[in-house]
Each structure stands twice: as C-alpha cells, then as structure tokens.
C-alpha cells in the first residue's frame, strides 16, 4: 500500500521518488529546507516568498533556526497577488540554497512558476515546490515546471480524503529527483523479492534514518502518518485520474462562481485579477471582524481575516470554495454577506461571547449594547502583558498614573458611566469584595467628570475605591481598547475589568461583550487569589 502511495505521489508531482509521508505540510517544508541546505553544501539561507502560507514560514523557522538557517522573505506584486520577479532580482548576488515556490499560493493565486524556477536554477539555487495535491490533477506538476522543474516538492496531503478533524492528524508529502534520494528524510518502501522470487516490499535506504545513523541521520523523524496515507491512497484509487480532475475542476468552478457573487456586492471587490485555483481574496470597505462575527451567528464561517499577516491589504478576507459546496450554499453565503454589509441586519445573541484571540489581535472587539453591535476601537490589553501607563484625573483634579499605586495590585473597573444603574451596582460589589483583599486597590475609570464621580461616591458611601476620569486624556480609551466610536454611547468607555499585579502585568482581563451586563466578578477576583 505504501509503495502504491509512493507511486501515486511521484506521478502526481512528476518527480522520481516520493517518501512514505511526514507529519504535515508545514513540517514537510521545514524538512525540505534542511534537505536543500544539506544538498547545496554551501549557503544556509533560503528564499521564502510572502505569498507562502505565513504559518508554514513560522514552522519552518522554528524547525531550522537552531541549525543557523535563515529564511529570507521575498515581496509580492500587490496588483497581481503573486511573487514579484522584480523583488527577486534584489537577491541576484546569491548565497541561497533554495527558493520556495508555492502553487497555488496563500492567496489562491497561480504563481509564474516557470520564470521563478528559471531564475533559481540559473543561479545554482534549488527549487522547493509547495503544492496542493488536488490542484495537481489539473495543474502542471512541479517536476514539469520550466527551467528543469522543481528539485523537491512538498505539500499538505489533507485534501486527499483526510477529515478536517479540528486540525489533524493530516500528512505531509515529499518527493524529489533521484539524485537527491539519499538526502530525503522519512521512510521509503522499496520493491524486492523473497528467496523464492515472490515480489515483496521492505523499508529501504534506512541508513538515512535515525535508528541507524543516529546523530548523522537526515532527520530525527521516526513515526510518520501511516493511517492518513492509507486513507489518501484509497481515496486516490476510488477517484482515479478522471475523478480527481473532476474534484479539482469543481473546486475551481465553485470558486469562480463565488467570487462573481461576492464581488457583485457593493463594497466588496476582488483583490487580484490574476488566475487562481479555488481560493481568492476580497477587499472590503467595512471591518472584517464584525462581518465574520455576524456571519458566524448565521452558522457561516466566512473566511480568514488577513489583517494580521498582510496589514497592507487593508480589510481583506481569504475565501475558499471546495467541491463540497452546492450552488445553494454559495448563494446563502453571498446573500448573508450582502445583508450584513448593507446594514440591514440584526445579530443573533451568542451563547458564548468570548472574543477570539484573532479578534482581539485586530484591535476591533465585538461588543453590543442591548444586542446592537457597537464599534470599540483600540488595543485591549492581553493576559501576561505589561499594561500601558496612563494619566487620569482623580476627584481632587490631580493627574495620577500607575506609579501612584506602585507596589500594589490594581483592579481597573472601567465603566461607561457611574450615572447608570449597572455601573453603580458593580462598583459597590467590587468595593466590598476587593476591600477584603490585601495589597489591592480598586480604580474605577470612566469618562464622567471628577465632580460627578465625587458626588457618586459621597451618595453611595464608597470610600475604598479611587475614581479616575478620562476628561483630560481621552487617548486612554484607545490605549486600553475601550473606545466606543459609534452608537448612543459614542465617546464613552466600554465596560471592562483589567487586573494587574504589583509589576503591572495583566493577571486577568475582560471586555464585557454586552455593555448592559455585569463583568465576571468571580474570575477577576480569582486572579487575585
């Protein structure tokens, strides 16, 4: 079965030899980088285009960094969405062991692979292809690319019938030219005969591997992803060349249809006008985070927000359409997007309302007031970070910062206003419980004027909290990621609790998703135990 798998992959990639698998596509790329550096015997730098999956680049860096190998980024053409040949010219001086060429790339766009391989080979640089195996049923395979074709090809095998399963197990595939086979990591199955001439199969060239070569092995890899390879082999056998081509063409057709539907919406445009396989980028005029949240409330996971890895693209979304989608699915998605962007929309309340790490990353939290979404801008502090300093106005009209509470733990109770029922109650409860804790001070922060805060504390009989006003420093709102920029409470602070230790490191933080609700007092106080 493994021999069949190796045969199928070698043919799909149009290279001489495929191994019996690695852990996943990203780690397979890392192994290819190590392999190219070993084979090159000179340079220890590898060119990695920005159009290569950012997480794969991170993984490759983690795995190769300790051997003194450097990955150097190559820019892409912002109009075309693929690697810029002009940007590549900057590296004409050489000193590189390999160039990684994705096909299709992270944006779904087809790279000018022939020119890229020609450039690399003319300078004695090896070419590592990072490819989608299903796409290769219709796209020209790396072994047949221009300039002599790629030397090594890797990729993620999950598309070949392996379930998504929340991230794994998947498998990484690798193939190479015959001359490089002794540098290839992973298991290899070879055909042979037994003593009576029967055909049989055995692990071979094991002198490459750790159990024989130990510290001189090509890699430390021991297990591979055997069960997933079994699934993929059976998948490819059930589909055959015509079936796999059908899968690829259906993915492509669905993507074309979906892009047409989405770009017909006012405020949505395609980022690149170049050929693509089954993924594409759209640019929006509205923030991506709230859009994705609104789609999620309708049971649609709308795509990948590119802001973190490609801030230069502005509000942009990576969308994919595989053969699993029907025309009705595509229509439902584009209708929902049109409705949300058009503003004709009421979000459903969510059972669990924690902002995901990604949303907090983008500095655009997803907060509602009475169920209606409001935009809250700025960068909310994260657990473990040192909190930014501030200068706020106390009830004595003095300006006060974190240093005035040096050596104490601080509970920042940030509220829209003390003159609304929720805020008063929360302050009182916090006062009671926090005053029971040693070495802790409660700071109530809002945009109320110091006089109003003074009047409030007097009337409520609160003495154990310090009230601080943002009257003189509205920049506090954005600096702490609580700046309400639309709706009736525009200009005020959102409701949040930030707990800091003696060194001002964030022990706990909560941006309350529905402004009318209380914060999670228990969680805040638990962080102080």
């Amino acid at each position: 079965m493994l021999y069949e798998y190796q045969t199928m992959m070698a043919s799909l990639l149009a290279l001489d030899v495929a191994n019996a698998s690695l852990y996943d596509g990203a780690s397979a790329l890392a192994e290819a980088v190590l392999m190219a550096v070993r084979a090159h015997k000179g340079a220890r730098r590898v060119l990695a285009p920005r159009t290569l999956n950012p997480v794969w680049r991170k993984v490759a860096r983690t795995i190769t960094r300790n051997q003194g190998i450097e990955l150097v980024e190559v820019d892409y053409d912002m109009a075309a969405g693929h690697t810029s040949l002009a940007a590549l010219e900057r590296f004409d001086g050489g000193g590189f062991a390999a160039l990684v060429v994705p096909q299709p790339n992270y944006f779904g766009v087809l790279e000018p692979v022939d020119e890229l391989i020609e450039w690399a080979h003319a300078r004695g640089i090896m070419a590592i292809a990072a490819v989608n195996p299903v796409a290769l049923a219709v796209l020209r395979p790396p072994g047949e690319w221009g300039g002599g074709g790629a030397d090594i090809a890797v990729g993620e095998g999950q598309p070949l019938g392996v379930p998504l399963a929340s991230g794994g197990p998947y498998f990484g595939f690798m193939a190479c030219r015959k001359a490089l086979v002794r540098q290839m990591p992973g298991r290899l199955v070879g055909a042979t005969v037994d003593g009576q001439g029967r055909r049989g199969y055995t692990l071979t060239l094991q002198a490459r591997e750790q159990h024989i070569r130990r510290s001189k092995a090509t890699s430390n890899i021991c297990t591979n992803q055997g069960l997933m390879v079994t699934a993929a082999t059976i998948y490819m056998a059930l589909l055959g060349p015509a079936g796999l081509a059908r899968v690829a063409r259906t993915c492509h057709s669905n993507a074309l249809d979906l892009r047409d539907l989405l770009t017909a919406i006012d405020g949505v445009e395609g980022a690149f006008d170049t050929p693509y396989f089954h993924e594409f980028v759209v640019r929006l005029k509205t923030p991506v985070g709230p859009l994705l949240r609104a789609l999620k409330a309708e049971s649609i996971l709308g795509g990948l927000d590119l802001a973190q890895d490609y801030p230069e693209l502005g509000a942009s979304l990576l969308v994919c359409a595989t053969e699993t989608k029907t025309a009705q699915d595509l229509k439902r998605y584009s209708d929902a997007m049109a409705r949300v962007i058009g503003g004709n929309y009421r979000p459903a309340p969510c059972a669990i309302n924690t902002p995901s790490t990604m949303e907090v990353h983008n500095g655009m939290a997803n907060v509602t007031l009475g169920g209606n979404p409001v935009t809250v801008a700025g960068k909310f502090p994260a657990k473990g970070e040192v909190a930014p300093d501030f200068s706020l106005t106390s009830k004595d009209l003095k300006d006060v910062g974190l240093k005035d509470f040096a050596g104490k733990r601080k509970v920042l109770n940030i509220v829209p206003s003390l003159d609304t029922p929720v805020c008063a109650k929360s302050t009182r409860i916090f006062n009671e419980r926090a005053s029971a804790l040693s070495n802790t001070v409660v700071l109530v922060i809002s945009a109320d004027l110091p006089f109003a805060m003074n009047r409030f504390c007097g009337a409520e009989g609160i003495s154990n909290v310090v009230t601080l006003s943002t009257v003189r420093s509205r920049d506090f709102h954005a600096r702490y990621g609580v700046d309400i920029t639309d709706g009736p409470l525009k200009g005020l602070t959102a409701r949040a609790v930030v707990v800091l230790d003696e060194g001002n490191r964030v022990l706990h933080c909560e941006l309350v998703p529905e402004i009318k609700n209380e914060p999670d007092y228990d969680a805040a106080l638990a962080a102080l135990k």
Binding site: D194, N220, E323
Partner: protein, 482 residues
C-alpha cells in the same frame, strides 16, 4: 498484484466523484497539466477487495500478540475511536474560531491537566505531532532557556550510548554536538563517566527511565544532581512511561522537560507508522517556551494561546493544532482508566514483563541483565545460541511469525549483541504469555535440532524472507508500467 495492475482504462466510480456538470475554467493553458497522473482506474469493488485483502496480510494488535519492545503495543479501546470520530469533532475546520469549538478545546485542556497530573510537570503543550517532534521541542526549549540567560557556551547534549536513535538525531537538529555516556554492566548510566563529561559546555542530558535496556535507572537522583550541578537541564524521553504510569513522576526524578508518546502509553493506534503524538511537559521555569498553541481556560471559556500571549515560545511545529484526533483518543483513554486505572497499567505492565522474563529464563534463554528486575520490558540475548547453532536473533524473530506471533524488537539497543527487546504490555492475559513462552521453547529446540528450519524462516507468511540488499542496491521506489 498492485492496484495499478488491476486498473482498466475508462473504469471509474461515478458515485465517488462530484456531480456538477456545468464546469468552468479560467486557468490559462500554460498552467495546465498535459498528461494524466498515474492513478488507477478501478471500480469501487476492485478497490474495496484490494485494500481489504492487503490489510489481512498484516500482523496487527487486533489479530496477534505484538511484544515489540519500546513500542508499547497495547490494545486500542474502541471507545476512544468512537468518541474521537463524533461528527462535530471530525468535521470541524481547524481555523474555526475558538468560541465555536469549546467542547473540543475543553477536552484538550483537560488532557493537558491530566498529563500534568500524571507527570508532575507544571505546564504542558499538546502541539508536537510525534515523540521525535516532542524531543525536538524539549531540546529547543532547553536551548532557548540557556540563550535567554546568555549562556551561549553550552554546545553539548549528553545521551547514554543505549539511547534511542531519535535522541542524538534531535540534539543535532537543535544545533548541538552529541556526546555519548557509557552504560555499566548492570544497565545503569556510568556515573563516573557522566561526572567527567559535564561542565560549562553542557546544555543537558537526554534520558529514558526505565532505560532502553528495560531497567530502572537507580541513580537517577544522583544523575540529576550531577547535570544540574554543572548548569545543564534534564530531558525525559517518555517512551517507557508505561512502566511507571501513575506510580512515579518524572518531575520527582528531577527532569525539567519531558515528552509523552500518546501512541504508546495512551494507547492511540500505531497505524503502521503513525500518526502519533508527543506532547511536552515542563517545569515552571521552562513554561514560557512551550511550543504553540497551548490551550488556556479563563472562567468558563477555553481559548488557544498564540504568539502574542507567549512571546518567548519556541514557536509552532505544525500548521494547525497538531494531531488533534490522536489527542482526543488519548483523552478518552485517560478518562476510561482514571487515576486508579493508570496505576494498574504500570503494575500489570511490569508484572507481565517480569513473568515473561522468568519463564523464558527457565526455558533456557539468556537474560541480558540477570541481576535486575524487568521494568515493563526486558532483553534476552541470543549470542550464545548463535555461537552454538548459528541461529541468530533475526532468525528467531522470523520463526516467531510462523508460530503466530509478531516478533519482538530486534537488534535494539545496539549495546546488547543478538538481542530481542520484549514488551508484553498490560493488556495481555496469562494464557497469551504462556503461549508465547511455549512457542519460544519450540524455536529453541528447533535451533538445536533443525537449525536450517529456523534460519530459513518464515515459512507460512505471504512472502518469505525478503532480499533487503537488493532493495537498496536496485532501488525501486515507484511502480512503472512494463
């Protein structure tokens, strides 16, 4: 026959391929494939029959006793599979936001907590996709630790000469030089040699306990003192955790970083080579370096921590979460066992190994470390048998296949000549162990009475002994039509 040889042009499975007929294309000619890939054209029945038949040619835990030492081939409970393959686990997209996967993240978080509990470590990451990746993470964290303290002179990792090959290979992948420490006649790391080898150049020591020789490292506390005293850190290769699960904690032995092989100790399927999983655990001071992502809980909500929360992390080892399905299976296994069950695992794994060792000794086999009690595995050496009859460990291993048993691990560790490393695991009954001993006794007799029978084994398997020299010399790694 290979699947390609069953192929007939034009044969296809209409039901398997997508049905859309109005296909479009906007891909220019220059990007398109000119020839067809060499994939077989078979019917569904052809494929089902072919792969089912292939599977029946294998020796597997489900069909044979599999005492492969160091691999821990214990039974894989079906409940683990059923739970891990619930539709909402199986169909979930890896990039789906955390708040759409709270159930899944809860399972992973609890697995982290259980692994902490069982090993005594302060923090765990489930990211590494195999034991070897876990080792890589562990050594990379040790390196990161030394680097943040400005201790760049530490360029060497120590490993015992009996260590599994992944240990030195991992050290080299992390940019270290490797120095081997000899093992004494009792199977312990040579303390005097260790003392002489450590110094300001020592980054750390990689160790398995019980060791690859199947015996407990009695001076582990002394080893810990020596390495830590020189400023190095201690890495635990968790391959043999089955021997001590629930009974002893690597943290108490002084280890700073460990990995666990879920496909061994936590009974996830071996799969003919994978997928495995190698979560890592560390003491508090190494926690900031853990590979990403790590599952965190805040109040009632679970989330994945990334680069922003863990700026000192060594980074990511996988594009996604790691081998999530394997983690789920291990989680269910741990829940099935509970704390009491885990203790019984170590107890019975050790009991079974010691019973087998005593019985094989009585049957006439030579135990490699006769003064030592076995851990969960032990080694017999066939050196004398080879001298007397010409029958080697390889021959005995092959003959066992004829008797209906998968062979034990052979020729590892390299220290012991003509060795068989035998690990029964706790899931085997006394009857199975007795049957194995009986088969070994038969082979021993055959070796004396009819050595050629053993040397030409196996006789009853689908193929006879394969020509491995030819396989390497006349490399044939992919089928081609005649």
């Amino acid at each position: 026959m290979l699947i390609f040889e069953r192929s007939r042009p034009g044969r296809r499975n209409a039901g398997q391929a997508p049905q859309r007929t109005d296909l479009r294309s906007a891909i220019p000619e220059r990007f398109l494939r000119r020839d067809r890939p060499r994939l077989p054209e078979v019917s569904e029945l052809d494929a089902v029959r072919h792969y089912t038949t292939l599977s029946q040619k294998n020796y597997a835990i489900d069909t044979h006793f599999y005492p492969l030492g160091s691999c821990t081939m214990k039974y894989n409970p079906r409940a683990c599979n059923a739970a891990a393959m619930l539709p909402q686990f199986l169909a979930r997209h890896p990039a789906a936001p955390d708040d759409t996967g709270q159930g899944f993240l809860a399972c992973l978080y609890e697995l982290q907590e259980m692994l902490k509990e069982v090993t005594g470590m302060a923090a765990v990451s489930l990211a590494p996709m195999a034991g070897a990746q876990g080792e890589f993470a562990g050594v990379a964290m040790i390196r990161a630790w030394h680097e943040t303290r400005g201790d760049a002179a530490r360029r060497e990792i120590l490993v015992p000469d009996a260590a599994h090959g992944t240990n030195p290979a991992t050290a080299v992948m992390c940019g270290y030089a490797v120095r081997e420490i000899p093992t004494d006649a009792e199977g312990n790391v040579d303390l005097a040699a260790l003392e002489a080898a450590v110094g300001p150049h020592t980054a750390g020591l990689m160790l398995t306990n019980p060791s690859t020789l199947g015996v407990f490292e009695r001076s582990i506390l002394e080893i810990s003192r020596i390495v830590h005293g020189a400023g190095g850190l201690l890495y635990y290769d968790g391959a043999n955790l089955n021997a001590i699960l629930g009974r002893a904690q690597p943290a108490d032995m002084g280890f700073d970083a460990i990995h666990i092989n879920l496909h061994k100790t936590f009974s996830t399927p071996h799969g003919g080579g994978g997928p495995g999983a190698g979560p890592v655990g560390v003491t508090a001071r190494l926690a900031p370096f853990l590979p990403l992502p790590v599952v965190d809980r805040e109040g009632a909500a679970y989330r994945l921590l990334g680069e922003r929360e863990r700026p000192l992390s060594i980074g990511r080892l996988a594009a996604q979460l790691g081998n999530a399905g394997v983690l789920l299976r291990a989680y269910v296994y741990a829940r099935l066992l509970g704390a009491e069950g885990m203790r019984r695992v170590a107890d019975f794994a050790t009991l079974n190994a010691n019973y087998l060792m005593v019985e094989l000794k009585r049957a006439g086999f030579e135990v490699a470390y006769p003064t030592r009690r076995a851990s969960h595995e032990f080694i017999i050496t066939l050196k004398r048998l080879k001298e007397q009859t010409g029958v080697s460990a390889m021959d005995v291993a092959k003959r066992l296949l004829d008797k209906g048993f998968h062979a034990p691990t052979s020729y590892f560790p390299l220290l012991v000549p003509e060795c068989l490393l035998i690990e029964p695991t706790e899931t085997e009954s006394k009857e199975t162990l007795d049957a194995f001993v009986a088969a070994m006794k038969e082979i021993l007799a055959e070796a004396h009475d009819d050595p050629q029978l053993v040397k030409a084994a196996p006789h009853t398997t689908p193929v006879r002994r394969l020509d491995e020299v030819k396989a390497a010399r006349d490399l044939d790694l992919a089928w081609r039509p005649a």
